[in-house]
């Protein structure tokens, strides 16, 4: 039941925040903060107070589980489950939720209630995605999370927000429908072989089907998730959406929502369709590698600061795709770490860009330069996260990338090598960002106040997080290993069959 509360609290918080804003704008903000805090509390309670792991036959060990009937006619139930992987991602979600509320404190001035409603509902949807273990419920949450995000972009975004919001929505919804088709196909194949109609994740694991069927169904899931991830060639919604979204929207989008794609790959694509996934792995990893290089090249070419960061996300998430399909402990842990670190570092970069836009009313780097002279704190922090994003050892992103690459190297050395070259390109775009925005001769026109305490506090927290991930990541690995073991038990037997696989 506690798991249900994890989703309900932000939902109720959102419902409360909207009218609360009529009293005072700050009321909505406080309601949101309190909702996030309560959610965190619930999560910690679930985590710390669980008596022992819950064993699911063929599905691994879980921290907490909830199950209630929903649409029994179709074999749909409200099944929620928490393991290490989802716990980490929910932790990230709540953390960035806090951050989003705080940084919107001054940025969002109108329709505050509606804003926080949408923010909290997006977060609730995301948490739902991370918890759902019924495929229908998963899809439900998947869709639920998009709508408020659409509104966040379309209503509080920048100049070209409508275009971006609609593009975002069409891409994700269109691919979502493919996933729905795939879910349904899987369910029917399962029904044909076993006679029961069910959307239950654990029962669908290990469904027997012919290789071509498995491949087709897997592709349905795969495309939906890599659109979300996003991987080349389905990435083009992302720069627009990120660029036009309000800062909090970008943070949620980049920090959390992209991770749902990766999570989907981890939780569903490979465990449900292990053989197809293995056969498909070279292509998927090729897409990942292309994403790494292509995203970096595009990032380097942008003039819009936010677009640069957005394309850098394409590059970073390419690593995750690589890691997922390498499917060994190192690469998977790397993928998880990369997800967390990317959430933090890119989130911070978006906050930095947002703060700049608030001050300079532009994101165009051709109009910046020499900001260090006027805003040393902002510039220093921006540079720190740019450097984190280029994968400096000692910070979280490096750990993620390194583990992914070293894991990939065992399976497909060529991909690992090309991916490593992407690290050079990352240096190119991260440093050009620093150069064009912060360095160079200061401009007279640019005279704006430096970061204030609220932003500094957020940035400090994110800095601590990224350093922690880089310096002492083992607790994260320990936490994730439970979840990853769950995934790997699901594929263990099947992968044995694929002979000569070095995983």
């Amino acid at each position: 039941m506690m798991l249900v509360w994890l989703i309900l609290i932000p939902l109720l918080g959102g419902l409360l925040a909207w009218p609360a804003a009529r009293l005072r704008a700050a009321a909505a903000r406080w309601v949101s903060l309190i909702a996030m805090a309560l959610d965190l509390l619930v999560l910690l309670l679930v985590w710390l107070r669980h008596a022992g792991p819950i064993e699911i036959t063929g599905g691994g060990r879980w921290i907490a589980m909830f199950d209630a009937p929903w649409i029994p006619q179709l074999g749909i139930s409200l099944r929620l489950g928490l393991d290490g992987l989802s716990l980490l991602l929910i932790l990230l979600t709540i953390g960035l939720g806090f951050v989003s509320v705080v940084i919107s404190w001054t940025e969002i001035g109108e329709r505050v209630g509606a804003f926080h409603f949408n923010l909290l509902w997006t977060i609730a949807g995301t948490i739902g995605v991370f918890l759902a273990l019924d495929l229908f419920l998963f899809f439900f949450a998947w869709e639920i999370m998009l709508v408020p995000m659409y509104f966040l972009i379309a209503l509080w975004g920048h100049e070209n927000r409508i275009y971006a919001a609609i593009k975002f929505f069409l891409f994700t919804q269109g691919s979502g429908l493919l996933m729905l088709l795939a879910i349904l196909a899987l369910v029917f194949v399962h029904q044909r072989t076993t006679g029961t109609l069910t959307f239950d994740y654990f029962r669908l694991l290990g469904t027997r089907m012919s290789p071509s069927t498995e491949m087709w169904i897997m592709l349905g899931f795969f495309i939906a998730f890599i659109v979300k991830l996003p991987a080349v060639p389905f990435h083009t919604w992302l720069p627009d959406a990120h660029t036009e979204a309000p800062t909090a929207g970008s943070v949620i989008l980049a920090g959390i929502m992209l991770k749902t794609g990766a999570y989907g790959l981890l939780r569903f694509v490979v465990p449900l369709f292990p053989l197809a996934a293995i056969r498909f792995a070279p292509i998927a990893m090729l897409l990942g590698v292309i994403g790494i290089i292509y995203g970096a090249l595009l990032a380097f070419g942008q003039n819009d600061l936010k677009r640069l960061v957005a394309y850098s996300s394409v590059s970073h998430l390419g690593f995750v795709l690589l890691g997922v399909f390498a499917w060994n402990a190192l690469a998977l842990q790397g993928a998880v770490m990369q997800m967390l670190a990317h959430g933090v570092s890119t989130g911070a970069l978006f906050i930095m860009v947002g703060a700049l836009q608030e001050r300079l009313h532009t994101r165009d780097m051709r109009l910046m330069g020499g900001l260090w002279a006027n805003m040393p704190k902002l510039s220093a922090i921006g540079m720190f996260f740019a450097i984190a994003s280029l994968g400096l050892p000692g910070l979280g992103n490096f750990i993620g990338e390194f583990l992914i690459l070293i894991g990939t190297f065992r399976v497909y050395p060529a991909f690992a090598v090309v991916g490593t070259l992407g690290v050079i390109a990352a240096a190119a775009y991260a440093l050009i960002l620093v150069q064009r925005a912060f360095h160079g001769p200061p401009r007279d026109a640019v005279a704006a106040p430096d970061l204030r305490a609220r932003h500094l506090a957020v940035m400090a927290a994110l800095t601590v997080a990224i350093v922690y991930l880089g310096v002492y990541p083992q607790p994260v690995f320990d936490m994730a290993s439970g979840g990853l073991a769950n995934l790997q038990t699901a594929t263990h037997g099947v992968l044995k069959l694929a002979e000569g696989d070095p995983r």
Binding site: G370, G394, F402, T420
Partner: protein, 629 residues
């Protein structure tokens, strides 16, 4: 005390953290204090540990301290751990002591700069990262330091960020070295995948037992590590960043781009020498690259105008010597030369800084100096001592002993055609020539630029100490003919094994010969630049010579080639695809849908007869579909 080894990198890190968090709000006196004291403490701790180590070596002549378990995933368990053996001990001592001296110098040199606090923060961070690099017990942790020093190098080259050229130089340094780092990283993948560990000592043992001598995989791994070393140590073909790196403040050039960071590649190969011994082909490549680099860079140095660029090419060239030494298996010689080089090159840079800070507009062009010997005696004597050591003037300089050791071991290794040895010898001559060219031009002749200001004790003291070190630093290891001191090689013996014994008579002959070469270089410089013959001046103006000089000035044209082959194609690809061609596909789909909409909209005419017609047509269509099969 040895258990407090972690304090050595921790203090500078703490200093850096304090300075960063204070965000420039500390008064400059406090900044200087926070900037220097941690490194001083580190130096003292290092010294105590060093004395303790020498007095009572730990078992196996090495000490390992695991600070915490960093990552543990399956068999991949790199730890954050420190490893101290004579090799890292020597390096640590050099880094902390030279670092301390340079920081002390900087407190005066950088006084009044608006980024005073930032400077010391970066410098402290650098020292810490460098110590991590040296002390890491694990290759992954080493990589942290490796990239950390690269970052600090980037930050400090671009320290004066308002000039875009500095930023360019900084980015170039970072990206070129990162190309090398990528090789290193892939090397780590190979090592871990095949040996199952990244802990250096177990890895070396395992490699020795698993990989046969000359095996392909060992060659691959060492080649990849070598790429990393080439980038960091500015060896051909990745040497182009170092001359540009002189855009940073002079203490930075002294510490990072002369004494310490650029020798990280040497350290890496020395640290992994066990692997290289398994891959003789690659080891030979190391020697060849070293020889080529030292030769190429020396000629480039010969034609520079900027005093710091002379020293920069000189650094490239001297590291070439170290690579040559590594390549021929003269591990101890390489480290010995590293140490000597750290002393005299730091000295040279600090002296050069002491010159430029006193000149109006911080003049860097040696042809606009002149006659400074009398006006700036402190700088003169320091620079002269440094130059003498660099030129390896016999008997009294550290550079003489270290270079001598390299040349003699190269000769011993050389086989039938001692081409490597020849390159080293020729370059020794050129080295003496180019550095004394600078000495004569800068300090003698007419004064061309006015002098301002004066030196404080914080400038003079480091110069003095380094001068002493540049002279006496060589006495820890002398050739048989000159006393046969073997303190250094015996100390290093636990790492590299016993030093090879050179044949006595040959060695002495070589010694004399090399001394003569150095001296004649100085002599030639004296002839050319103190007593310029008109014929020489005329010869320098002949077209072919001008062309060659321009070629050498540009550092043998590497930059141009790279610009054409790499930079421009990259920028071209970026430019043509700035708007993301893939997006056009989706835009096209959207446009097609709109077109279809407009087309279909035309059918909605609003006329009853038209609609009825379509109804009939539709009916016919359905009839056709139903009936025809």
């Amino acid at each position: 005390m040895i258990h407090d080894l972690w304090l050595v990198p921790a203090f500078p890190l703490l200093g850096a953290a304090i300075l960063m968090i204070s965000a420039g709000r500390l008064p400059s006196r406090a900044v200087a204090l926070v900037g220097v004291v941690p490194v001083a403490v580190s130096a003292i701790v290092s010294a105590i540990i060093g004395i303790g180590f020498m007095a009572a070596p730990p078992s196996g002549h090495a000490f390992t301290e695991i600070l915490w378990r960093w990552i543990a995933i399956g068999g991949f368990r790199p730890a954050v751990g420190l490893y101290l053996d004579p090799l890292s001990l020597v390096m640590m001592l050099v880094v902390t002591i030279v670092g301390f001296l340079i920081l002390l110098y900087s407190t005066e040199f950088m006084a009044g700069d608006e980024g005073y606090s930032r400077f010391f923060a970066y410098m402290n961070l650098f020292v810490s990262a460098m110590l991590v690099l040296l002390l890491a017990s694990n290759l992954l942790f080493l990589y942290v330091g490796w990239e950390g020093v690269g970052l600090c190098s980037y930050l400090l080259i671009g320290f004066w960020y308002q000039d875009a050229a500095n930023g360019l130089a900084a980015r170039k340094a970072f990206i070129v070295t990162r190309i090398g780092d990528t090789g290193l990283m892939i090397g780590l993948f190979v090592l871990f995948t095949h040996l199952g560990t990244l802990d250096i000592q177990p890895l070396l043992h395992r490699a020795a037992s698993v990989w046969p001598h000359g095996s392909a995989i060992a060659s691959l791994a060492t080649a990849l590590l070598l790429i990393g070393a080439l980038g960091k140590s500015a060896q051909i073909p990745l040497q182009t960043w170092l001359p540009d790196a002189m855009a940073g403040p002079t203490p930075v050039s002294a510490l990072i781009h002369a004494a310490t960071m650029v020798t990280a590649g040497v350290y890496l190969i020395a640290r992994m020498h066990g692997l290289y011994m398994l891959a003789p082909a690659i080891q030979m490549t190391v020697a060849a690259i070293g020889a080529a680099t030292l030769f190429v860079a020396a000629f480039a140095a010969l034609n520079q105008h900027d005093i710091k660029r002379i020293l920069a090419y000189s650094t490239v060239s001297q590291i070439g010597y170290m690579f040559l030494a590594l390549g021929v298996g003269a591990w101890t010689a390489a480290i010995f030369h590293f140490m000597a080089h750290a002393f005299f090159k730091a000295l040279l840079f600090l002296a050069a800084g002491a010159i430029t800070m006193r000149l109006e507009h911080h003049e860097h062009d040696i042809f606009r100096m002149g006659g400074l010997a009398k006006k700036l005696p402190v700088a003169f004597w320091s620079f002269l001592i440094g130059s003498a050591s660099l030129a390896a003037l016999p008997l009294v300089t550290a550079g003489f002993y270290s270079k001598e050791m390299i040349l003699s071991e190269t000769w011993a290794h050389g086989g039938a055609v001692p081409i490597l040895w020849a390159a080293g010898l020729v370059t020794a001559f050129v080295t003496a020539l180019y550095i004394f060219r600078a000495v004569f031009i800068v300090f003698f002749g007419e004064a061309k630029t006015p002098i301002v200001g004066r030196y404080g004790i914080r400038i003079v003291l480091p110069l003095a100490v380094l001068s002493v070190l540049a002279v006496i630093g060589g006495f820890v290891e002398t050739p048989n003919g000159l006393g046969g001191v073997t303190i250094f090689s015996r100390f290093m013996g636990s790492v590299f094994g016993p030093a090879p014994l050179a044949a006595g008579a040959t060695e002495t002959a070589l010694l004399v010969f090399a001394s003569l070469v150095s001296l004649s270089g100085v002599g030639l410089a004296w002839l050319l630049y103190m007593r310029p013959a008109p014929r020489f001046a005329a010869w320098t103006q002949t077209p072919s010579v001008v062309a060659w000089r321009a070629f050498f000035l540009s550092g043998w044209g590497f930059d141009v080639v790279y610009d054409r082959l790499v930079v421009r194609p990259f920028l071209y690809v970026v430019r043509i695809n700035r708007h993301d061609a893939i997006d056009d596909v989706y835009t096209g789909i959207a446009e097609a849908s709109r077109g279809l909409h407009r087309l279909l909209k035309l059918t909605q005419t609003g006329r009853i007869r038209w609609y009825a017609g379509w109804l009939a047509a539709g009916s016919i269509l359905t009839i056709a579909v139903a009936v025809i099969r």
